[in-house]
């Protein structure tokens, strides 16, 4: 399973990527939607973990762009807001949704469920 993690909170992205790597999960992490699209040009990802609110291309717009080139990619939105509105936005966009701070076990369970 290969994961693309996109979050403008740089330390969060780096730390989470390290924790996933320690669990033998192949993960690339970037800090902007633009970088994510570049990565996706040359890589095939099974799951994208996307922060919702980012400068430039936000998570919801990024999901649409990733789906154009990777129709099978599974999307998990990560957000610091955790409001009902965010949750509904995530579901209506046909994606999963996790609220920050994350519980690593919850994320691992979700990834297991999304495994192709």
């Amino acid at each position: 399973m290969k994961i693309l993690l996109v979050d403008d909170e740089q330390k969060f992205a780096m730390m989470l990527a390290k924790r996933l790597a320690l669990r033998n999960i192949d993960v690339d992490y970037v800090y902007t939607g633009e970088e994510a699209l570049q990565k996706a040009q040359n890589n095939r990802y099974d799951v994208a973990l996307l922060d919702v609110k980012m400068p430039g291309i936000g998570g919801i717009e990024l999901k649409g762009k990733l789906k154009e080139t990777h129709p099978d990619i599974k999307i998990v939105f990560l957000t610091g807001h955790g409001s009902k509105k965010d949750f509904e936005a995530g579901i209506s966009e046909g994606a999963e949704y996790l609220s920050k701070p994350l519980q690593i076990e919850e994320l691992l369970e979700l990834l297991q469920r999304l495994k192709p």
Binding site: D8, E9, K11, F12, M15, L16, K18, R19, L22, K53, M54, P55, G56, G58, G80, H81, G82, K100, P101, L102, I104
Partner: protein, 218 residues
């Protein structure tokens, strides 16, 4: 129903709520970093306890990152505290630079913020007697518009100068052209009028000016 409608239309409450929502988002981000960093520290220590050789620097680096994030959290809570206390007195003498620094710091939590540069003001316009909360609202609204119009890669320059003997001008220059929204819109004009201020945009060089009178009588 009328009283409920009044709450809905209350610009002060809306502003207070908007700023607090962005502060809580920032605090959640800080906690998320602390949570992942302490989680990584725990992962490394478990591996070490299981016999895997882990460089002590890796664990120390996590500790250092956690301390940095805690300091960031204290800074955010300090800003939250200063913002909350700005409602203590309806009218007071305020340090303009401190007030602008507070609002730029809070506005930077917005995901679409651009870079901001604050120029040093002349000696004769560093403080002003006004309603700090309403002036903060005007500055925040201007910054939100500036961010939307300029984009995350742009930079807005903020300067202060004395406009007349009894008024000070806060100018935001370098505003981009990305936003189609009108500014200042009616509610901003209303807030400005309540403190005798005026918000105006100069078309040629994309500068927004907030003219604030030196004294507002209670």
């Amino acid at each position: 129903m009328d009283s409920l409608m009044e709450i809905e239309k209350n610009d002060d409450l809306a502003f207070y709520g908007q700023v607090n929502a962005s502060i809580s988002h920032e605090l959640k981000n800080i906690l998320a970093v602390i949570s992942e960093t302490s989680g990584l520290m725990n992962d490394l220590m478990e591996l070490s306890a299981g016999g895997k050789k882990i460089a002590p620097e890796k664990i120390m680096s996590c500790g250092h990152d956690i301390v940095e994030e805690i300091q960031r959290g204290f800074g955010t809570i300090n800003q939250m505290n200063r913002f909350s206390h700005s409602m203590d007195q309806t009218i007071s003498r305020v340090d303009l630079i401190q007030l602008i620094e507070l609002m730029t710091g809070l506005a930077k939590f917005l995901s679409f913020a651009c870079r901001l540069r604050l120029g040093k003001p002349p000696e004769n316009c560093s403080t002003i007697r006004t309603c700090p909360f309403r002036l903060q609202n005007l500055i925040y609204r201007t910054l939100v518009y500036a961010f939307k119009s300029t984009g995350p890669d742009g930079e807005v320059h903020i300067t202060i100068h004395r406009e007349t003997n009894d008024s000070v001008c806060i100018a935001f220059s370098g505003i981009g052209l990305d936003s189609d929204e009108p500014f200042p819109e009616e509610s901003t004009k209303k807030i400005a009028a309540s403190i005798g201020a005026e918000v105006r945009m100069t078309g040629s060089n994309r500068t927004i000016e907030i003219l604030v009178p030196e004294l507002v009588e209670p």
